[in-house]
């Protein structure tokens, strides 16, 4: 029983990471209608920036905040420089950009920071917490991801800017007609997605070690989570991310073993696409014309 509880708690911890990346995927999906395959590599790159800042002598939390800010700017720049000019191009063009960006960031990180595994510090420590069910890092990182997810939700739900960003992603033409500067909103959306990814990267790095391929598995799980919850539903994607974290951990411990854990993500992806492509919470709007 203790073992099971332990697996569930650590599933929630990794699930928080997947949930954050899944949310970033959904945010970009809503404006581009494609999955940003580069989301993981963007997060990995951000984590390297954080490590560089820490090694340069910044305190952890200062480096954390600086990394989130830098990632936000870089994400917005990627939209302005790479995506914005493609606004009228066929949709497949953005897929090309995503894949190209993924490969470039991966290669660039290897070239700049090296390809060896690096340890990344946790600000929470490694010891046990909550009577031994979770580690201090798991507890801390879950709190951080939850805090991020709730803040992002509140931002979109309650602020004027958040409303405009949602409108711009769903319906750019109507948004312009009510006076929303759509291009700026889409860039902000990319910035926010990149910042969320950066947090996920910094939270997962102490567990999996940092190297240019650190986020490959995470992205796959996050994608599975986004699909499971519904790629059109931010809340669904977050719940899906947590579910995938728990399923993955349980399956790894009791069913397939750690070596085959990644297959769980593929099974979920295929199962969702076959059984319920809109996911658990996906949108089924009956829009009348």
């Amino acid at each position: 029983m203790d073992g099971l509880l332990h697996q569930i708690f650590s599933g929630i911890a990794t699930g928080g990471i997947y949930a954050a990346v899944a949310l970033a995927l959904v945010m970009i999906y809503q404006s581009t209608h494609h999955v940003n395959f580069a989301q993981g590599e963007m997060a990995m790159f951000s984590t390297f920036i954080a490590l560089t800042l820490i090694q340069a002598g910044l305190s952890y939390w200062l480096a954390f905040v600086a990394t989130v800010a830098i990632s936000f700017v870089l994400g917005a720049l990627i939209q302005r420089v790479l995506l914005h000019p493609l606004a009228n191009a066929p949709v497949l063009a953005s897929v090309g950009v995503f894949i190209g960006l993924m490969l470039i960031l991966n290669a660039l990180a290897g070239w700049l920071f090296g390809t060896t595994l690096k340890t990344f510090p946790s600000p929470f420590g490694a010891g046990p917490a909550m009577g031994g069910y979770v580690s201090r890092h798991e507890l801390g990182s879950t709190s951080v991801t939850l805090l991020v997810l709730i803040s992002v939700w509140a931002f979109f739900r309650f602020t004027r800017l958040g409303l405009a960003m949602r409108a711009a992603a769903f319906n750019p033409a109507s948004s312009r007609l009510v006076g929303i500067p759509v291009a700026r909103m889409l860039a902000l959306g990319w910035g926010l997605a990149a910042a969320i990814g950066a947090v996920a990267g910094m939270m997962v790095a102490p567990v999996v070690f940092l190297d240019p391929n650190m986020m490959a598995g995470v992205l796959l799980y996050a994608f599975a989570g986004a699909l499971l919850g519904g790629i059109t539903s931010p809340l669904g994607a977050v719940i899906g991310g947590f579910l995938v974290g728990i399923i993955e951990n349980l399956a790894g411990a009791y069913v397939v073993g750690t070596e085959l854990k990644l297959a769980v993500a593929l099974v979920i992806i295929v199962a969702v696409l076959v059984l319920k492509p809109s996911g658990l919470f996906g949108r089924t709007v009956t829009s009348r014309v």
């Binding site: 405009a164 109507s174 312009r176 009510v178 006076g179 929303i180 709007v285």
Partner: protein
Amino acid sequence: MTDPLLRVAGLHGGYGATKVLHGIDFAVDEGGVTTLLGANGAGKTTTLRAISGMIRTTGEIVFAGRPIARLPTEAIAAAGIAHVPDGRGTFSELTVEENLRLGAWRRRDDIRPDLERMFGYFPRLRQRLRQQAGTLSGGEQQMLAIARALLLRPKLLLLDEPSFGLAPLIVRDIFAILRTVIAQEGTSVLVVEQNASLALAIADRAYLLETGRIVLSGPAAEIGRDEAVRRSYLGY
């Protein structure tokens, strides 16, 4: 003669290589209702898109004394032109309330008094506030679109076929409300319609558009009596 609120001169425009507007001239007077009539594909929607900066154009568009032809769409909206587009432009995924808040997005003042006035015109919107806008009926979406546009507090309201796709009874309702709204809000209106009799009934001035050219213009009552217009557009 005072300057008109909107003056369009020598307007050309289209989609890529397809030219749709071939040098259009017309004006919308302050405080009045102007209608642009024309058959299917005449270029009515394209003209409104040109005014809102949604397509590339050449020629002059002067609004409230200010050239707006080079402005981006969002700046034109901010300058005071609200546009209920072809297809109504509903934010289907968002709630009715969010749609209304988006209409007033440019404003920083308290919009509650205006919202209350909109609920006065369109009581059904109040009942549907929390509902996803995409689930509204066509008529309700048209009401929502008009309310959304008015919440910008525009000097000029562009309406693209408010009757489109609606049952005759609903159309009658909407035009009746529209008449009240126009009288009470004091907004100048440019309305585009295929349904000429409806449009002529609420308009002061009318222009007739044929394949991208203005072929007739005058007071709405006069245009309504024109022999050719009656035969081709009014059907009697």
